[in-house]
Each structure stands twice: as C-alpha cells, then as structure tokens.
Symmetry: C2
C-alpha cells in the first residue's frame, strides 16, 4: 500500500491519525530548524512538516534533499497546523513525517508545474505529461470526463444505445480529405479512417436500432486552421421515426441537462431562428446572442441621397455599439483600420455617434441630415451614447465583415461572458451551397440531408433556394452541433447525388451499399453530431480546444511529444505494397 489517503483528503477530523501519503514534492521551504514540503497528487496538496525537535537528524537531512517533482512516500501523523491556509481543502492540518521514502527522482522540469506556468505552448506540448500535472490542464481533462459521462447517462436514460462503428472503412473522396490506411492483406487496396460514422449510423437506423449514439473519434486530413485537430471527437446521434421537431427536443434536452449538471445553469427554451434570419440579423450562421448589436439594414433609409458608396451597394447595414459614442477620432480611425485588415476585408466604415444630447455626428454629415441619421438609429436600435458602425457592399461579404466587427466590439466591451450561456437553434439551412471557384453546388451539410418537403422540384431551377431539413445548435457563437433529417429512399438519394455531380456509377461505387439498404425498408430518420472538443471547451468557459485534449497535435498535424508522424522501415512499406514517391 503506497498510501492510506490521497493528498486532498485529510481534514481536521483526521488529527491524530497515522497516515501514509504518496505524491510529488510540489514545493519546499527550509527555515533551518523546520522544513515544509507540499506534497501533491491529483486530488490536492498536503503540507508535510519536518523539524529539529520532532524529526531525527537523518530524516530532516533527507527532507532537505528533496527537489521539486521528486516522487516520495511518507508516513506520519496528522497534526493541526499552526498557521492555517484557507485556500486549500487540507489547509487546517499538516503531516508530521516519521518516515520518508524517495520513490523516484526527478530532473528539474523544463517549466514550472504551477497554475500560471512559465512554459510556452511549444515546450508544454513537448512535455505534455508534465503539463498535465498542472491544475488547469488536469482539471480540463477531468471536466471532459464528467461531460462525457453526463452525455452517456442522459442519452442512455432516453433509450439510446451506444454502438461502436468501424474505424477502418472506405474512402469517399467528396467532402474533406480522408486519412488512408494501406491494407497488407488486400494488396493495392486502402481503408479510410471515418470523417464521421454517418453512413453506419444510417445503416443502424435501417437495422432498426431506433436510437443510436456514440462518442467517437473522427478524422479529417485538412490543412489545419488554428483550432482544428486532424482527429477530433464527436457525439454522434441518430434516431428513426422522427421529424425535425423530435430531434430538436431531445438534444435541447441533452444540452439543458449538461448546462444544469455541469455548469449549474438553468436555461429557458432555446430560441430558434432560420438560417436566413441569422444571416440578416447577425451576418453569421452561428450568432453569439449573449449580447445584442443586431444588424439594422439601412438600404431604405440610406440610399436616397448622393452618397455614391451606399447607392451602389447591394447592402448597407449597421450595428449600434453600446456606449461607444465617446470613441475619439483616433480610436475610430483605428477601428476603421481594423475592418480594412485583409482578414476582415471591408473597404471602409461609416460611423454615427449618437450623442448624449440626442444629436448625431457622423462621418457622412455631408450627405445625411439629423433626421436621416435618426432613422439609422431606429433601424439599428441605437441609444444615446452608442456608436453606429455601418458597412456596405455585396450582401454576403458585407454581412461577414459586419459580423466580424460585431464580435470584435463584443470582445472589447467584455460582452462575451464565459459563465453566461446562450444556446439557440439555427434551422432551415440551404440544402446546397455554391462553390464560387468551380461554380458548382455542393451539399451544405452532407449529401444525405433531406430537402424540405415539396422543395425537391426546385433543384433544377433554383438549386440555391432549396432549403434543407437541417439545423445547427449554436452556443455562445460556436456551432456545437449540427444535423439533419436524412433522405431515406433510393430515388431521392439518387437525385441528390446527380445534383452533386456524381455519375450514377460513382454514386453506386461509393454509396451503393447505402442506396441498396434504403430498398429493404428504411425508416424515416435523422440525427445530429456534436463536436465534443468544442462543447467541452465552451462549457468550461474557454474557446480553444487544445487544452481540453490530453495529447493534441500541432498545426502541422504533429505530435511533438512522441515525434509523430515519422519515417518507417522499407520493410514495412514493402509489406504494404507501397513505396514513397517524393
């Protein structure tokens, strides 16, 4: 037995007890006649004490040699602390050590194992096992476990069955890039790692499993953006004999359960807005609604004067930034520079200060009088003291730019509060999305998404206008889940594949098994998938996912700790019947 208690367990009620503890020497203080060591494990810190009066000289001498992160075991008795520490749970006691054993020595760690460490991202990743000893990372991983347990509990209680789907599947080249796995036993052939268990969960519905879920790793070989990982975890769900309403209710329930159990927050019924509404109001299909600053469209009130920029614009649109009328000329210029950065891409910005006295001062006073500007204020909901920021141009681009500005201003004003949770459903997504480069349509959600009833006829004439039975769950400006009602008959699926540019042969080659399955009695079905990494981060009050993943990869897809990927033996290549082609 290495320990009778953990380092987070002892309290005043244990005073007088003989205990044994094991852990890491977190910190020590040597006052000459007395030495204290903070002993740390996953559960907490316990102060150990050695002194000239009560410890043998050998023991005291040994205690002095214990450097940071040494793994030790001690025996001793729990005593009351002279100076209590209210900041830690064990702060009323300490352990007077009678026996000290070094279980393993430790080199000086490359960064401090403290909540606020001196280690940068790179070194923390290389020594991730040391980083995990730090409370913030350790607690994130424990938090993630709790979230996953609650997800399973909720769904299992709702009669969902977790079914494991295979990891070695078949490549489907449309969509994102697959990771491929050469098959040794089937020469010249490859498996692919799943981008999601989409087709398998649909087959489970054909198989009558009725309610399926799985917390499962998925893989995408994409060029990684800042906060993406080549392998990521999904809460993948599917239900049979459901309409959109059934799915929204169940998974609103799941999300509410998590917010309640994990965050202790009660959330009212989730608002629902359509995709079109979200784009018009927030310029974004995953709006953060913890704060206002809804878009006010100004075309009708701004396109009647001689201001050519607005008159030639497809869209003139503004937001009222609360309390920002006192921005100086310099601050506003910096803001204009900000929207003109290539990442945002606006050509410029018109502003209106809504003065406290009810007057307006704008950058376009030459063209617009006070009465005009009052209409802008009404359209944007601006109050006295607000700053109206107006962008104009092509509709989609302008909305995206104003959305970026809206988020930036919210960030600056501290309106994106980590402990506030504002979920909403965005529904009625378009079925297809135009790829402007190739001028072809591809599936906005995926090729298995069902068009709205009666809209399939529109596919030929107005493909971009067809709406899907597709929905996203948005939390605090992040898409945490997305799903759809699926196509469940072979004919509709064939029409979809045709519109996505598949030849009948390609469709059969890649998805023949699914279309075959639809012929043997496929029930109506639909589902949703949540990104667990992001969900956990947001529930944890953060937006970066990396510190909620035990062993993340960097932006080049490398694990710098184990140094993977790596070159391999020629023998291994030849067994797989492949060779390098650099």
């Amino acid at each position: 037995m290495y320990r009778s208690h953990t380092c987070g367990e002892l309290r005043a009620s244990h005073i007088g007890t003989e205990v044994s503890l094991s852990g890491w020497a977190a910190k020590s203080r040597d006052k000459g006649f007395v030495v204290w060591i903070d002993l740390r494990d996953r559960y907490g810190l316990t102060q150990l004490v050695f002194d000239e009066e009560r410890s043998t000289p050998e023991l005291l001498a040994l205690a002095r040699t214990i450097s940071r992160e040494t793994v030790i075991q001690v025996k001793g008795s729990v005593i009351e602390r002279a100076s209590k520490n209210d900041n830690i749970a064990t702060g009323t006691i300490e352990v007077l050590v009678s026996e000290l054993t070094v279980l393993n020595n430790a080199k000086l760690p490359p960064f401090t194992i403290e909540d606020e460490t001196d280690g940068g991202e790179d070194i923390r990743m290389k020594y991730r096992y040391l980083d995990i000893r730090r409370n913030p990372i350790k607690n994130n991983l424990i938090f993630r476990h709790k979230v996953a347990m609650e997800v399973r509990k909720y769904l299992s209680d709702q009669n969902f069955i977790e079914v494991e789907t295979p990891y070695l599947i078949k490549s489907t080249p449309e969509g994102a890039r697959d990771f491929l796995v050469p098959s040794r036993m089937n020469e010249g052939q490859f498996y692919a790692l799943p981008q999601s268990p989409q087709t398998f969960k649909q087959l489970l519905m054909v198989g009558g499993m009725d309610k399926y879920f799985q917390i499962v790793k998925c893989f995408r070989d994409e060029d990684l953006r800042a906060d993406r990982q080549p392998e990521f975890t999904q809460i993948d769900c599917e239900m049979a004999f459901v309409e959109q309403e059934d799915i929204l209710n169940i998974f609103e329930g799941l999300t509410r359960h998590l917010l309640k159990e994990i965050n202790g927050v009660d959330v009212a019924e989730f608002p629902r807005i359509t995709y079109d509404e979200a784009m018009a109001k927030y310029g974004n299909d995953k709006p953060d609604i913890r704060f206002g600053m809804e878009f006010g469209e100004l075309n009708t009130v701004a396109q009647h004067k001689d201001f050519g920029v607005f008159n030639s614009a497809e869209l003139v649109v503004g937001i009222a930034v609360p309390g920002a009328a006192n921005y100086t000329r310099k601050e506003i210029d910096k803001l204009i520079d900000w929207v003109k950065r290539p990442q945002v891409g606006a050509k410029g910005m018109v502003y209106v200060k809504c003065n406290k006295d009810g007057t307006y001062k704008s950058s376009v006073d030459k063209f617009y009088d006070q009465e005009d500007l009052a209409k802008w204020a009404t359209a944007t909901g601006a109050q006295k003291g607000d700053l109206i920021c107006v962008l104009s141009g092509e509709t989609n681009k302008t909305r995206a730019q104003l959305s970026a500005l809206r988020m930036e201003m919210a960030e600056r004003l501290g309106l994106r509060k980590a402990d506030e949770f504002a979920p909403l459903w965005v529904i009625d997504f378009p079925l297809l999305e135009l790829d402007e480069e190739t001028n072809t349509y591809h599936a906005m959600h995926h090729p298995f998404t069902s068009p709205k009833p009666g809209q399939i006829e529109l596919l030929d004439e107005q493909p971009g206008a067809v709406k899907a039975n597709a929905y996203d769950l948005v939390l605090n400006g992040n898409e945490i889940g997305g799903g759809s009602i699926r196509i469940h008959d072979k004919e509709t699926q064939a029409i979809m594949f045709k519109h996505l540019g598949f030849t009948p042969e390609e469709a059969k080659e890649q998805f023949g098994f699914l279309m075959d399955a639809f012929q043997y009695g496929a029930p109506p079905h639909g589902g949703i998938a949540f990104g667990l990494d992001r969900l956990v981060a947001i529930l944890g009050g953060k937006e970066t996912i990396r510190d909620f993943i035990a062993f993340p990869k960097n932006n080049s897809g490398r694990d710098v700790m184990i140094d993977a990927p790596a070159t391999i033996d020629n023998e291994q290549l030849s067994e797989l019947n492949i060779k390098l082609d650099l």
Copy 2:
C-alpha cells in the same frame, strides 16, 4: 410525430386508447375476412388487425398489399385480443387500425428476419443492416451497450477518469504489425494506429492522472485467426501508486460488479494461481475451471515398468474424464484419432477404464497391474466409472495436447455451461518468452512490464526463469484481461530494452519520449486491459465475438457490406506522396 408508443409498449391497461405506431411489417396472416400484421420495432411486436366488419374495404385492401419488412405507420385503437399470446409482452392486446400509411417499401430480404434465420454467415454480413434487425444480433448490441455503461459507471465511481488518447501515433515495429497512415502534411512520414494506448496511459500516470481508463479501439495488422478482428475494443486501465494487490482488488471488483449487474450472479472471491501452477494443473495459462479434470502427473507412478514410450517421456500426464468408462472400443479409437489430429498433435493416447466394480482395464495392461493403475487413479482423482486419458512426451507440448483433450471432453460432456461463471487470476507470469524459431527472448506481456523485485539480476543468467509482476484475468477458459506492474525508471527500462535486443539508439528512437518522461518523476504504476469484445461475448454466454460487433470484418480483414478496403484514386496516392508497388 410518427408514433405515440413503441411496438413493445402497449398492455391491457391501454385498451381503449387511440395510438399511433410505426415499424416494420414482420409477418401477416390473411384469413379472408380478417388480416393481421405483426408490427415490429426495436422494442417489440404489436399485432395490428383489419377486418371486414370494422375496416373500410380500401383499408383492408391496402393491408393485404403490405409485404414483409415494409415500413408502415398506423393509427388505431387498442383492443383486447380474442386469443392472447403469452410469449410476447404485448400479447393481450391488438390495435384495430383506422389509418395505414406506407412510409417505405421493402424488397424481399435475402434472408428471413427471424431469430432462427435461413441466412448463412456471408449473406448476413453483406446485409448486416438486415441482420441487426434480428433479435439475437440486436440484443447483443444492446447488451454490449449495457456492459460498457456499467464498466464506465463502476470505474468512474472509483475515481477513474476516462481520457481519450490519440489514434494517430507512431509506429513501433516490435510486437504485432501496425496499421500505418501516410501523412500528407509531413511528406514521407507515417502515423501508426495504436495497438493499445500503452505508452500514453503510462504518460498519464507520469502526468499525475492517478486513475485512468478508456474504452478504446485498438488495431493490429495480423493474419486473422477465426475469431480475431483487425480493430478491436479494449477497456484500458492504469493506476499510479499501486502494487499488484491493489490492481487485482479493483478489477476483481469491476468483474464482480458486471457479473452481478449484467448477469445477476454473485461470485465469491476469485481464486489465484500462478502461471506455473496453471500450466501444471491445466496445461494452459487460461484454464476453464467451471469443471475439474485437473492434470495428474504420472511420471513417478508410470516410469518404473517396461513401457518405453512413458520411460522416455519428459512428462506423463493424465486426466480423469467423469463417467466415460463406458466408452466403447470404437469411441475410444475415435478419441485417439482426435488427439492425433494435426491440430492437437499427440502421437497416441493411453487410457484406463475405471470400472464400476473397482477394477481397471487399460490399453497398457501388458505393462501395468491393477495396483499400478490404482495409483494412476489416485493421481488423476479418477472415480469409479471414469476414463483416465494419458498423454506423454515433451512437457510443454504434452500439456498443450492434454489441455485440448480436457476442453474437448468438457465440451462433449456439457460441462462448459454458458450461464456458469468461474473467474480466476493467473499471476506470476514469466517476464520473457523464448521464440523457438529465432532462439531469442521477447517480452511475454510487453516491454514495459516490471520483473518481480530482486529478479532483474537473473536476466543475464536465466532469462526464462525471471517472473514478472504480470497477471491475467481468466473467465471460463478465456483471457478477458491482462496487465502488469510497469517499470517506472529509465535504468530498468533500458535494461529491459537491451535484453529484448534493442540497441540503445533503437530504444531512444522508438521510446525515448517514455524514458525521458521517467526522469521527471514517474510514480510506481501498473494497469490492466480487458478485451471488451470477448468480455461481452462471454458475459452473453457465447464465445464468438463477431455477433457482438455491429459491423465486423471477415478473416481477410474485409468489410463485405461496404466493400472495404478498396482501390483509391491516383490523385489521392500522389497527394500522400506514395505509389503502389505490387
């Protein structure tokens, strides 16, 4: 809303209620004036009724067109059945249908969707989604979910944290073959899929996670034996600051919890035997102890006469097969043929019939008298009426042969009862195993297993004699879990790698990150991993794992349903900087 109730839900108490149901038409009977359809979903069967008196002619006509596996929705009222069916939960009621909607048509399935199907293994795998509709497979998957939930519940309650470890890791060519994944972003380099999260869970212990578990997919590119899968699921566990005893206790607790919660069986404390004892008593390191037939070594009582076969044998060993003394000469000859099959490999078999009258009749009466044979009976524990079967030869081979015979006889005698559970721990495994082909030693468990204290010095002189802190959990003749106390210091690990034939450079190249980690304060730790597929099958009273896996692969590693692996585009190959080399 597709349904107000499931097909397994309605009872006599619902009589008079208007309901809607959805599901598959499992079966229909047409008596002319009345048509019954059994409507099936995951939850059960409900009988639908249409008749000339109460249904419209159109409805009755439509009902007659519904073929097997058609997906339908009905509305109607719950009525009492004229002839009740005690075999199903809904057997007291039926639904008088007022509205029938065909949700999806179904082609005739290639095999019957019945508990006993007419479909062979191949066709069932090709149409696995139809196979899953059958109760035996569906119930296995639900059973698997329950087992996994109970595992998580138990371990989480014991303060274990489920941590997800990466799937894209680094190849370690010793041990089994890895599946490899070419990296597009890191040209010429490859990830490997994990054979187990072994090194990561050890790093989590270095990271202070203290108690880790994960239900996780693992991958081995081996030539597949009958009941192996290239991807399989492990319950992977690790604990810090533990000795073997702590681990045995915790996971005996887990197994007992599962037997109680899942099977309703209370099991006493698990017996523990050493590896050496298991080999001597059962010829097998995973003995089935649901029945006796323990080995009796006969060297001392059989090597004093002129029977050259025994005198020249390293081992003479027998078992007493209960009640088999009445085997005819012909039956015994067949048994001798059975042990001489190449799969078993014995050269012959000596037998002794222990007659009811206390006399013995053996195939070696020429050499042994009644007194000799009585000693054999004592050594094998044979009773009157038993048949003693004796094999001889080289120790290891003879034990393996007699073990095969023991299992075969138990099978024939019905002693391997699926609803009886006899777990045991096999401990003190050898650290190293001699590979007779290459005459080199390799790790019996894995290179991270710790030798027994004080035995590391034996490594040079008697490598085969060194015992490890390694243990297996055996249930009904199957290894369901195995683990060890790990090495936790760099020096010992380096010695192990040396003895396994690694150069220091190779050790550093492949496991440098782990040996580095050991220098920063690694705690003593150990763990265990359970094979979930097999565990679930055994708890479910079966020994083949395939029907407890939703989408298994065949013996060539193929998924015949989706037809994977498959050839891929040259474009995909070239993006990955590889080409085929057939």
